[in-house]
Amino acid sequence: MTEHYKVAIIGSGPGGLSAAITAADQGLSHVLLERTNHLSDTIFKYQKGKKVMAHPMRLPLQGSMPFEEGFREGILDNWNVAAEKSGANIRLNAEVKKMSGERGSFQLTLPGNEIITADEVILAIGLQGNLRKVPVPGADREWVQYQLDDPDAYQNERIAIIGAGDAGIENAIALASHNEVSIINRQPDFSRAKPGNVAAIEKAIRSGQIRAYANSAPARIDDKALILDTAEGQSIVPVDRIIARLGAIPPRKFLEEAGIKFPSDDPAAVPELSETYECNVPGLYIIGALAGFTLIKQAVNQGHEIIRRMAGDPIAPADEDLLQQRFESAFQGASVNAVLTYLREHVPILAGLTMLQLREVMLESTIARFRAGDVVFKRGDYTNSLWNIAEGTAHVLINEARPDMAVRIGEAEFFGEIGLISGRRRGATVVAGEASVMVEVPRRSMRRLQSSIKAIKVELDRVAMRRIIHTALARDRPISEIEDIIAGAELKRYKAFETICAEGELVDALYIMRTGSATVSRIDNGREVALNFIAAGSLFGERGLLEDEAKRAATIRATVASEAVRIDASVIRGSMERMPELRGIFEKAVQSQLDQTVHSALARAGQRVGGTDGSAVTAFLVNQGVGEATNAFIIDEGLCTRCGNCESACASTHDGISRVNRDAGPRAMSVLLPVACRHCENPHCMTDCPVDAITRAPTGEVFINQNTCIGCSNCANNCPYGVINMVDPTSGHKEHQNWLTWLLDSVGLPTPAPKPHDHNAPHATKAVKCDLCKDTGGSPACVAACPTGAAIRVAPETYMAWVRDGRGRS
């Protein structure tokens, strides 16, 4: 006899648990199914003593499940008590393996092929997924584990780490100082991991600290031994413990099998949901992290709200008041629904959103009213939100001296898409043309929308392409005159280091860099000499375009994953007659070609004098991804006296925690790239911060708001350069300067070591990284504190000059 319920709730995280508690309160027939043997596995797995934040602070909590800012242990205790008290019907160790059916006829398969049926289902399984298990006999031994909470808990053991991704590498390194560690890698090398981790593990292997088995996979686990299949046959690794870090299986497959549709293949896409969280399968509701709501409080509220509606006692969504406040300044007294409807009618980009998506976007966006002439944003600002005109017009001042030539953008159109896409500074100042209503959607929301709604991405790309071409080639003409050029253009994507055009090839097209960057180089006396750097927004490949049969004089190669607009030579030649000013653009190009000749002469001179020429240094910097930096920290080790002043300066101006690691970065010749934030053009760290704690200041600094950061580590995992540290910001050793430490330090003696920080005490781990000293007024403290000028902070455009000056090659 199968059990039947009105509603089955899958997953006992904050979302599912809140639903179950409310269901019990309301006397609704229900069951809560949890995979693990405890409630709320995601929170259960937080680090011991982690401080859990209750963002968004202003969002009220609904329902009777308790939740406020506190520590992991306390919150779990409260939830267990609340679950107990409510009398919710909870089944642990009940992983739902399969799900089918729809409203009135859902069938859920549990372990042991037990079937449960339900009228409606709430899916709240979060995004953590199932940890991938070692698929070999013997993997069920208790010393085979899938997590490492505290590396110091293991001493003098023989430990094998299976899996050579970032998690595996980090565990291996953390354990290596007190244990005999081997790492098992299916691949021949570690290319899957972040560069910082790759460097660290390779170093540890070279020095004999960690043993590596490449091209190897586990075959069997015996008593105290791991048997491997290697390229040379089987080999036996004696072990006391195995830690497997094989990643998680995202729940997507499980969901698709249940009939849930995703709007795109983008892994970040969330299923499309109605205002009541119902997905395309009738009767199936999705809440919490899985529905794209990344915070605990949101999940709790949704669980409550959905059950209230099922029980026939609906309440207004928790964000109703917040939205009301957001709309207040532009639409005083209007109801939330009226404003949302207005937005759908006036802002085409928002028209295709579900009500739920629209609410979510508007919680983060701003509606602003402007008077004629008000500045919306300034040229050179590093803002990258998208502006939509609901009413009125905007004027883009392409040429600030000639306001009469401003480009007019009208009702229902948007602007700011180029900054949004390329991550670079605003290319022009924009002012309101008349009294206007505009909606500013932040970059983060736009990125989410682009990954879940294809039409938005297509429209943004289309408009951006038109405008990029217009600004680069014909800014003084109305855009209507270059429709033929626009029609002949295509968007090309390049992988990092891919050649865009090669020396010696026929000149057949002109390019405009849309995102990313590229280097220009030439073979000179058999060596590749880097000549120039192309940043996003620049025109390139134009030289020789007007001649017949001209050959490329240089190779242009993407430095990072990049996009460029390609316009065929024939299209340009065809427009020449009609648009004589194009010739001017190409003449300017000849000028820059002259510069290039000078540069290559300099590079050759450098070769004679210094042994190596600058291009090796440039190549190194480019390979290290400096091409996507807007401000990278570089030390010339030919000048660096190793005094450590840069690090001390950083620590002393930032709560005693240095954001620079001078010892760890990659080096070549005499260039060191210390591990420090590069303030990327398109910061990877910003992609999925649940509380939007990472911001790019209008002046370019990428910084983290310590008050809102919840310490989830997403950013640290996303940054490819490993510059974000997850630490307790209060653990810093505030340098205690007195005459004694001053004297010791001045004569070069070490100052007394700070008291070690107690890591077991409850603490709030937060993301910490360089903020370019934006709050201290001056230039970055590290650079200012360098007595010899060895430390610099530069944009790629400038480091090329720095290298040409002969630096970094001693």
Binding site: G208, N645, S746, G777, A785, P787
Partner: protein, 272 residues
């Protein structure tokens, strides 16, 4: 070079002007610090010393005070100019008293400073070349790995040989000497425990034991490799020591100088 040696030019102008006025001046009696020009030199010198000493404090004040590189450059050039100004201030008259003491202290401070500047110009690049892309941490990890494998390999030999190899893995070339640090005499590990172990291993082939060359070779290679790492690390320490040690003179004597200078000024005005 900070702004094309701007402070170098300032210092040069200051020095040339000081010498020029000294030459055209005809004070009544012997030139001395008490003349009108002498007071001027004294005041300028006093101001310079105060400002130069302030650098020691400024160096550790971080944030919002302009680049230290400029201060550093000014510190070096104006420090050198101070020698000229102060010497002219003495009028070349030296005695066994606190006034001359202040002058001598100042001279030592400046000379040690010049030496420091020299080390800053010379050693960073040499250090970089010596490390060859590695770091001290990596080198010591490398050394630990080599030591471990030496000890493992030694187990296959007789006890006495093994003991010699173990001793060799603890051979870091002994204490640092003045000669090594300042005159650059490298340590010679071949004469110490390392050399002993290698010699003994050589003897194993065909000699005392009857080992095959193939058994001995990896161990000898590892011992030599670790010796080169040790030499490299010592060289790194030597460079760092040079860049640090002069400060043990420069800083304390600066403090002494400031004291002596205070007494000098006080004495001049009180007893005149």
């Amino acid at each position: 070079m900070w702004k094309d040696a701007y402070y170098g030019k300032v210092a040069l102008i200051l020095s040339v002007a000081a010498i020029f006025f000294y030459l055209i001046d005809h004070p009544s009696g012997v030139p001395n610090g008490g003349s009108w020009l002498g007071y001027t030199y004294g005041t300028v010198g006093f101001g310079l010393i105060g400002w130069l000493a302030w650098f020691g404090i400024r160096r550790r004040r971080y944030g919002g005070q302009g680049p230290l590189e400029g201060w550093m450059s000014a510190h070096v050039y104006l420090g050198i100019a101070l020698i000229v100004v102060a010497t002219l201030h003495t009028g070349f008259r030296f005695h066994w008293n606190v006034h001359t003491l202040a002058y001598v202290l100042m001279a030592i401070v400046i000379v040690s400073g010049i030496f420091g500047a020299y080390t800053f110009l010379r050693y960073p690049a040499m250090m970089t070349a010596n490390r060859a892309g590695s770091t001290l941490k990596t080198m010591s990890a490398e050394l630990a790995g080599l030591d471990q494998s030496c000890r493992d390999l030694a187990l296959t030999f007789d006890d006495e040989t093994a003991a010699l190899v173990v001793a060799a893995t603890q051979d870091f070339g002994g204490r640092f000497t003045f000669r090594e640090i300042f005159l650059g005499r490298s340590v010679n590990l071949v004469e110490g425990a390392t050399g002993g172990a290698i010699a003994r291993l050589r003897d194993q082939v065909g000699g005392v034991g009857n080992a095959q060359p193939a058994e001995v070779l990896p161990l000898v290679q590892n011992l030599t490799k670790r010796a080169t790492v040790v030499v490299k690390m010592r060289r790194d320490w030597r460079y760092r020591a040079q860049m640090l040690l002069w400060r043990a003179i420069h800083v304390p004597l600066t403090i002494a100088l400031v004291l002596a200078l205070t007494i000098h000024v006080f004495a001049v005005f009180y007893y005149r």
